[in-house]
Amino acid sequence: MQLTQDQLQPEPLQDWRRYFSFCTDHKVIGIQYMVTSFVLYLAGGFLAMLIRAELLTPDADVLVTPDGDPTPYNASFTIHATIMIFLWLIPMLAGFANFLIPLMIGARDMAFPRINALAFWMIPPGATILLASFFFDPPGAGWTSYPPLSLQGVTDANGLVHFHTGQLLWQISVILLGTSSILGALNFITTIWEMRVPSMGIWQMPLFCWAMLATSIITLIATPVLTGALVLLTFDLVAGTSFFRPESGGNPVLYQHMFWFYSHPAVYIMVLPGFGMISEIIPVFSRKPIFGYKAIAISSMAIAVLGFIVWAHHMFTSGTPQWLRMFFMITSMIIAVPTGIKVFSWLGTMWGGKLRFTSAMVFAIGFLSMFVIGGLSGVMLASVPIDIHVHNTYFVVAHLHYVLFGGSVFAVYAGIYYWFPKITGRMLNETWGHIHFWLTLVGFNLCFLPMHKLGLMGMPRRVASYDPIFTYLNTVVSVGGFLLGISTLPFLANAIYSWIKGPKAPANPWEALTFEWTVSSPPPVENFTKLPVLTVGPYDYGHEGRSPDEIIRH
C-alpha cells in the first residue's frame, strides 16, 4: 500500500532532540530504552567493581563507614542487583523488542505508541529514585528485600530508631519500574497478535516475536503480584501494619511466596527475549533454516507456563514442607526440557551450516556455551538436597551470573552486534568486536567459575568479610571481575566511534530474511512505505546468490 501524503506521520523532531522528548516512534523509544539501560548497566557494573574491590581481601575494609559498619557494601550489592535486573536487562530487552517487533511483523508502529512512550518515561524517574536511595539510609536487604530485614528501622546518631527512607525509595522505584514493564507488555502482546501483515500467520513470525509474546504474557500476569507484595511491604514499612512483621503476627514467608511468584518468572522475562535473539542470529550466520521452528516457538510458551509453578524452589530452606519441596523440585527440573529443546535446536541449526564467525555469531555461540553451564548448575540447585547445602552461598551467585550474564548479557551483545547496523545505519568494527568477545569470555569465566567452588566450600553471599581460607579464589574472582569491567571499554569505544564515523551500513549487511532487513538502515520513520508481503519463511536460507528483494515481495 502506498501511503498518501496525509497518512505519513508528521515529523516534528528529526534531530537529536527527539531522543529527549515524548516521542512516540517505536524506533526512537527503542533507542531510548537501549541507551538508558546501557548507561545504567555501566553504573551497575561500577558497583560490581566496588564489590569485587571489597572482596579482594577477607576483611571488610573498602565499602565500610569509618567505624567499620558495612552499610555501603550492603547498599552496593542491593543496588547492583536491582539495577542489573530492573534497569538493565529488562529495559534493554524491551528496547530491542520496541525497535524490532513492528519492523519484523511489517507494522508501522506499536499498537499504542503513547503508552509505549509513557512506559519508557517511567524508567528515568525509577532509576533516579533508586540511585537517590544511596543518599537516604541506603537499602541493604538485597534485591529480594526480604522482611523482616527490609523492615528494620535505622538507628541515627542519637540512638533513635526511625523508619528506613532508602528502603521506601527502593520499593517506590521497583513498583514504578514494574508498572512500566506491564504497560510495555500489553503493547507487545497487542502488537504481535493484532498487527502482523496479513500474509504472516503466527507460524511465520520470527522467533524473536514468539519469545517476546511469551515474555510479555509472563510480565502481564506476574508483575502485579510483585506490586501487591511491595504495596503490603510498604504498608508495613510506613503505616504500621503487620503483614510481614512476625513480631505482631505477620508472616514474612508469605512475602517470599509473593515475591518469587513474580521473580522466578522474571528470570524468564530476562532470558526468553535473549533466546529469541539467538534464534534470529544463529540461522543467519549458519546459512541454514532454523532447526525445529515450532519446537522453539512452543518451548518458549512452555517455559512461560511452567515458570509459574516453580517459584518455591527459592524457598527450600524457608520451612517449605517436604511434599511441596518435592513438587517444586520436579517442576523446576522439567523446565530444563523446553530449554534443552531450544539448545539442541540451535546446535542442530549450526550443524553442517556454513558458519560465519561475525561478532554477533561468536557472542551467540558464547551465549550457548555459557548458558548451558548456568542451566546445568540450575538443575543442580533445583535438587533439594544440593540446594539445602549451597543455599545462600556463592554457588547461587555463580549460577545466576551464568544464566543472566553468560545467558542474557551475551545474547544482548550478540543482538547489539547483529542489529547495530539496522539501528544506527553504521557498521561496527568486527576486529574490536572479537577483542571484546574474548575479553568478556575470559573475564566472565575467571570471575564466575571459581564462585561455584567458593559456594561448595560454604562461602556465604552478601557478606562484606569472609574467612581467610577463601582468599585465593576471591582474588581470582576479583581479577576476573576487573577484566570483565575492562572488557566493556573496547565495546563502548567501538560503539561510540562507529555510531559517529563507522562505515555506512547497507539495508541488509548479513543477508538475512526477516522484514527489518528489507528497509533502509536506519529504517524510515514510517517503516514501510509499501507493506511487505511474506513469501518466504523467516529462516529459509540456502538462497545464496539471490538478493532478499527477489524472495521477499513488496
Partner: protein, 213 residues
C-alpha cells in the same frame, strides 16, 4: 480474519508480485484504522485482576493458618450495610449495560442517562463504604485482620473511584458531537468493561471478607 489470512496465503503463493500487492491494498482499505484498544484494555484488566488475585491469595494464606477468624478481640464484620452495597453495585452493572445497548444504536442521550445513574450508584457504594469505615471498631493497624480488611476494601474502593472518573469523562466527551458513534465508541465500552471488572472483584471480596466463615 482467519479465513482471510489463509485465503491470502494461497493467493500470494499462487499469484505474482502485482497481485500480491493488490491483495494487501484491498485489505488495508477494508481496515483503514484497525482499533486495538479494546484488546489492549482487556489485557490491562487481566493484569489488574492479577493484582487482586495476589492480594486475595495473601488474605487466604493468613486466614487459613489463623487459629480463629476474626482473631481474638476482633469483632465480627457487620454484614447488612455491605450486603446493601453489594446489591447496589451489582445492579449498577445492569444499569451500565443499558448504556452499552444504547450506544450501539447511536443513542448518546441514553448513554449519558445510564452512565449518570451508574455514577450515582457508584457514589452511593463509596459513601456506604466510608460510613462503614467510620463505624468500625478496628483500624488499619489492628493486626492482620484490620490490615487485610482495609487494604483489600481500600484497593477496591480506589478502583470504584477511578471507575466514576472514567464514566464522568465519557459523559463529558459524549457531549462533543461525533466523538462516539454507533460503530466507534471505545470509551463507552472501556468504561463499562472496567465497571463490570470492579463489580466482579467486589463479589469475590464480599464473599471472602463478609460471607466465608
Amino acid at each position: 480474519m482467519q479465513a482471510n489470512e489463509s485465503e491470502l496465503k494461497t493467493m500470494v503463493a499462487a499469484a505474482g508480485e502485482a497481485e500480491a500487492t493488490l491483495v494487501h491494498e484491498d485489505h488495508a482499505a477494508a481496515h483503514e484504522h484497525p482499533d486495538h484498544r479494546l484488546f489492549g484494555f482487556l489485557l490491562f484488566l487481566v493484569s489488574e485482576g492479577m493484582l487482586f488475585v495476589g492480594l486475595f491469595a495473601a488474605y487466604l494464606a493468613y486466614r487459613s493458618v489463623a487459629p480463629q477468624w476474626p482473631p481474638k478481640g476482633m469483632p465480627e464484620l457487620e454484614i447488612l450495610l455491605p450486603a446493601v452495597n453489594t446489591i447496589i453495585l451489582l445492579s449498577s452493572s445492569f444499569v451500565i449495560h443499558q448504556a452499552e445497548t444504547a450506544v450501539k444504536k447511536g443513542d448518546l442521550a441514553n448513554v449519558r442517562k445510564w452512565f449518570g445513574f451508574t455514577v450515582v450508584m457508584g457514589a452511593m457504594f463509596l459513601a456506604g463504604q466510608l460510613y462503614e469505615y467510620a463505624h468500625l471498631q478496628f483500624k488499619l493497624q489492628s493486626g492482620l485482620f484490620g490490615g487485610t480488611f482495609f487494604v483489600l476494601t481500600g484497593f477496591h474502593g480506589m478502583h470504584v473511584l477511578i471507575g466514576l472518573v472514567l464514566m464522568m469523562t465519557v459523559i463529558a466527551r459524549s457531549l462533543k458531537p461525533g466523538h462516539y458513534t454507533a460503530e466507534k465508541h471505545f470509551g463507552v465500552e472501556a468504561a463499562s468493561l472496567y465497571w463490570h471488572f470492579v463489580d466482579v472483584v467486589w463479589i469475590v471480596l464480599f464473599l471472602l471478607l463478609y460471607v466465608a466463615k
